[in-house]
C-alpha cells in the first residue's frame, strides 16, 4: 500500500490553470468513481477548492501517480503540457505531512485561515459516501482533521485579524464587554463599511444604524446587515448613542469634527467610543484622537493591525510544524502497526484452513473415532496452531510497527505463502 498526493495549488499554478482543473462539489462523487475505475487505485479523496485541486490516493505502487495525473487532465479536458508543469507528486511520509499542513492552514494563501479544515472534512465525507476510501485514507483523514484542530488550539496560528473588518471587530471586543449591547452607527455605505459592519454583526452586534446622504443606499445597506436607516441630518443628534462609529463617506473633508465628538463623549459621560474611519480622505477630524474616551482608528491603523497579526501567525508556523512532526510520527507508527493486522489474520486463517483439512481427512480415514476422541483431537490441533502462530504474530507486529522494518511485508507474505490483500480490503469495507 502506497500513499500518494497529486495536485496543484496557489503556489505552483496560476489561477487560470487552477480554474480549469477545479472540480465542483456536486461532480465529486462521479469524479471519484471515474478515478477508481480508470486509474485502478484502491482508495481516493479529491480536495478541490479555489486555491487547490489535490488527489489523495492509496495505490499498489508508487508509479500509479502518473496514472492519477493523466486521469486529472483527461477528466478536465486539458492537454498535459497545459498543467503538467504545475503538478506536485508527494509520496508516503511527504504525502501525509502535506495533508496535515493543509488541514492546519499552513499551506493556505492566508496562513491559519479556518475554512480549509471544513473543506478537508467535506472532501473526505463525500469520498466516504461513495465508498472510495478504505482503511488507509479513513485513518489518514481522521488523523489530519484532528491535527488541524490541535494546531489551532495549541498555537495562535488561527488567531487575530484576517481583514480590516475583523481587526475592527477584535478591537471593539477590547473596548466593550458585549457587542450585543452596543449601538453601531455606519456613516456612508461603501463596500469596506459593509464588510466592517458585517464583521461586527458576526461578533454579536445587533443595534445597527445606517446614515447616508442617499436614503436608498442607506436603506439597502441597512437591510443587508439587519440595521435601520437614520437621517443623515440627524447625525449629530444620534452620535452620542453610538458606541461604535464607522465613517466611510466620499466627503472631501471631515464630516465628524472634533467639537462634535467632544460634545458626544461628554453626553456619554465618559463611556468610551470606538470611531473607525475607513474613508480616504478621512471623514473624522484626526485631532479627535486626543479626546479622553475616544479611540480613533483610521484605515492605516487597522491595516497595521492586520499586518501585525499576519506576522504573528507566520511566527506560529514553526510551533505548528513541531506538532505536525509529532503527529506524523504517531500516525505512521499506528499506520504501520495496522499493516500487520491483515498479514496476521491471513497467516492465522491459512493455518486454520490446514488444520480443518487435516481433521476432515482424519475423520474419513477413521470413522470409528468417538466424539470424545474427536474433541480431544480438535483441542490438541487448535492449541498446536495457536502455539505455532504465537511467536510469528508478535514478531510481525514488532517488525511492521518499527521505523525501519527489518523485513518487508511482501517477504513475510511470501514466507507464509499468503496474500493479505483480500483481508485488507475486507477490513476497509467494514470501516
Amino acid at each position: 500500500m502506497h500513499l500518494v498526493v497529486v495536485g496543484l495549488n496557489h503556489k505552483t499554478a496560476p489561477v487560470e490553470t487552477r480554474e480549469q482543473l477545479s472540480i465542483e462539489e456536486s461532480r465529486l462523487p462521479q469524479a471519484l468513481n471515474d478515478l477508481t475505475a480508470r486509474a485502478q487505485i484502491s482508495e481516493s479523496v479529491i480536495l478541490s477548492t479555489c486555491n487547490r485541486t489535490e488527489v489523495y490516493a492509496c495505490c499498489a505502487s508508487s508509479d500509479h501517480d502518473q496514472r492519477i495525473a493523466e486521469w486529472l487532465g483527461s477528466y478536465c479536458n486539458l492537454a498535459p503540457q497545459r498543467y503538467a508543469p504545475y503538478l506536485y507528486f508527494l509520496h508516503e511520509r511527504e504525502a501525509a505531512a502535506h495533508l496535515f499542513r493543509v488541514a492546519s492552514g499552513i499551506d493556505s494563501m492566508v496562513t491559519g485561515e479556518d475554512q480549509i479544515l471544513g473543506q478537508v472534512k467535506t472532501a473526505y465525507s463525500i469520498a466516504r459516501k461513495v465508498r472510495s476510501t478504505g482503511a488507509v485514507l479513513n485513518y489518514l483523514f481522521h488523523h489530519a482533521i484532528s491535527v488541524g484542530k490541535r494546531v489551532r488550539t495549541e498555537t495562535a496560528i488561527g488567531r487575530g485579524a484576517f481583514s480590516v473588518g475583523s481587526a475592527a471587530a477584535r478591537l471593539a471586543e477590547s473596548i466593550f464587554d458585549n457587542l450585543a449591547e452596543c449601538t453601531v452607527m455606519v456613516v456612508g455605505a461603501g463596500k469596506m463599511a459593509e464588510q466592517t459592519v458585517l464583521n461586527l454583526a458576526g461578533a454579536g452586534a445587533k443595534h445597527i444604524l445606517v446614515a447616508n446622504r442617499s436614503r436608498s443606499h442607506a436603506a439597502d445597506l441597512a437591510q443587508r446587515c439587519g440595521g435601520r436607516p437614520v437621517d443623515f441630518g440627524d447625525l449629530e443628534a444620534v452620535l452620542p448613542s453610538a458606541d461604535i462609529v464607522i465613517a466611510s463617506t466620499s466627503a472631501r473633508e471631515p464630516i465628524i469634527k472634533q467639537p462634535m465628538l467632544r460634545r458626544a463623549i461628554s453626553a456619554r459621560r465618559g463611556r468610551p467610543m470606538f470611531v473607525i474611519d475607513i474613508a480616504v480622505p478621512r471623514n473624522v477630524d484626526p485631532s479627535a484622537a486626543s479626546l479622553d474616551g475616544v479611540f480613533l482608528y483610521n484605515i492605516d491603523d487597522l491595516q497595521a493591525v492586520v499586518e501585525k497579526d499576519k506576522n504573528a501567525r507566520k511566527a506560529e508556523i514553526e510551533r505548528a510544524e513541531i506538532i505536525i512532526g509529532e503527529e506524523l510520527e504517531r500516525f505512521f507508527q499506528q499506520y504501520r502497526a495496522r499493516q500487520a493486522v491483515p498479514v496476521i489474520s491471513a497467516m492465522r486463517s491459512k493455518f486454520e484452513a490446514i488444520r480443518q483439512a487435516e481433521i476432515n481427512k482424519l475423520k474419513r480415514r477413521f470413522p470409528e473415532l468417538t466424539s470424545e476422541q474427536m474433541e480431544a483431537i480438535e483441542a490438541m490441533t487448535r492449541s498446536m496452531v495457536s502455539k505455532i502462530c504465537h511467536d510469528p504474530t508478535l514478531r510481525i507486529k514488532d517488525y511492521l510497527a518499527s521505523d525501519k522494518p527489518p523485513v518487508d511485508v511482501n517477504v513475510l507474505c511470501e514466507l507464509f505463502g499468503i496474500c493479505p490483500d483480500a483481508a485488507n480490503s475486507e477490513e476497509g469495507s467494514k470501516q
Binding site: 495549541e154 495562535a156 488567531r159 487575530g160 477584535r170 478591537l171 471586543e173 477590547s174 473596548i175 466593550f176 464587554d177 458585549n178 459621560r269 465618559g270 463611556r271 468610551p272 484622537a289 479622553d292 474616551g293 479611540f295 482608528y297 491603523d301 497595521a304 493591525v305 501585525k308 504573528a312
Partner: protein, 273 residues
C-alpha cells in the same frame, strides 16, 4: 508543624494559580477553569490555616500585622472567586493570585506575636467586627485597584494603537470598569462598617469616638476618596479613565491607612507593639 505545611501549600497553590492564569491568558483561553480550581484549593487551605491558628492561639486570629495580612489575602481571593465570571478573566485572575501570594508570603515574615494574651483594650465585642470589616474593605479596594490599573494600561495601549498579543489578552475596558465598580461597591460598605464599629470600640475603650490619631485621619481620607468614586460613578454616571484614576489614588490612601500609619507613624493603632 501542621500550620507551616498549610502555609507552604497555600502559597504554592496561589503561585500555581497565577502561573495557570497567565498561561490561559497567553493561550487566549476564555474560561481559565483550571486556574480557578487551583486558586479555590488555595483558598480552602488558607481558610484551614487561619482556623488552625485560631485554635493554637485560643483567640480570633485578627490582632497583629501577620494575622491581618493573612486575612486580607484570603478575602482578596474569596472576593475574586465569588464574582460572577467576566469575559477573559485570566489577567485579572493572575493579578488577584499574585496579590494573594504576596500577602501570604509577607504575612509569614511579618512581625506577629504568637502570644495568647491580648491587651485588655483589644478585648471588646466590637473588635472582631471592626477588624474583619476594615480588612474586608481593604481586600475589595485592592482588587478594584488591580482592575483600575489594568484599565489605565489597556486604555493607553488602545489609544497609542499598541494592540499586540498581550493587549488582546487583557479584559475589555467595559469588563474592567464594571469589575472595579463591583469591588468598590463591596469594599466601601465593609470599610464604612469598620470605621463605625471602630469608633464604637474607641468610645468603650478610650472614652472618645474620634481622636484624630493618624490611622483615623487616614481612614477618613480613604473613605472620602472612595465616596467620591462612587458619587462620580453612580450620581454623575461617569465612567472611564477619570473614575479609574480615582481608584489608583484611593488605593494609595488604603496602603497608607493599612500599613503606612501602623509601621511608621505609630499612634494608638500601631501593630508594632
Amino acid at each position: 508543624m501542621l500550620s507551616d505545611i498549610l502555609w507552604i501549600i497555600a502559597v504554592t497553590c496561589y503561585s500555581a494559580a497565577a502561573a495557570a492564569f497567565l498561561w490561559s491568558a497567553g493561550t487566549f483561553s476564555t474560561k481559565a477553569t483550571t486556574a480557578k480550581a487551583v486558586a479555590a484549593a488555595g483558598l480552602l487551605v488558607h481558610a484551614a490555616l487561619m482556623v488552625l491558628l485560631g485554635f493554637e492561639l485560643g483567640r480570633v486570629p485578627l490582632t497583629n500585622l501577620r494575622e491581618s495580612l493573612l486575612f486580607v489575602g484570603w478575602a482578596v481571593m474569596a472576593f475574586f472567586l465569588a464574582t460572577r465570571s467576566t469575559r477573559r478573566p485570566a489577567v485579572l485572575g493572575a493579578a488577584a493570585a499574585l496579590i494573594c501570594a504576596a500577602l501570604v508570603v509577607s504575612a509569614s515574615v511579618a512581625p506577629g506575636s504568637t502570644c495568647r494574651f491580648v491587651l485588655p483594650v483589644l478585648r471588646s465585642r466590637w473588635s472582631v467586627v471592626h477588624v474583619a470589616a476594615s480588612l474586608g474593605g481593604y481586600a475589595g479596594f485592592a482588587l478594584a485597584f488591580a482592575a483600575g490599573a489594568l484599565y489605565c494600561v489597556n486604555d493607553s495601549l488602545l489609544k497609542n494603537k499598541r494592540v499586540g498579543r498581550w493587549q488582546t489578552a487583557l479584559p475589555s475596558l467595559d469588563t474592567l470598569d464594571r469589575f472595579a465598580y463591583k469591588m468598590v461597591a463591596l469594599g466601601f460598605p465593609l470599610f464604612t462598617l469598620g470605621v463605625v464599629t471602630g469608633s464604637m470600640w474607641a468610645q468603650s475603650a478610650w472614652g472618645t469616638y474620634w481622636s484624630w490619631d493618624p490611622k483615623e485621619t487616614w481612614s477618613l481620607v480613604t473613605w472620602l476618596v472612595y465616596a467620591a468614586y462612587l458619587h462620580v460613578r453612580v450620581f454623575l454616571g461617569r465612567r472611564g479613565k477619570f473614575a479609574n484614576r480615582l481608584l489608583l489614588i484611593g488605593f494609595a490612601c488604603t496602603l497608607i491607612t493599612f500599613l503606612g500609619v501602623s509601621l511608621f507613624a505609630g499612634g494608638l493603632h500601631s501593630y508594632t507593639r
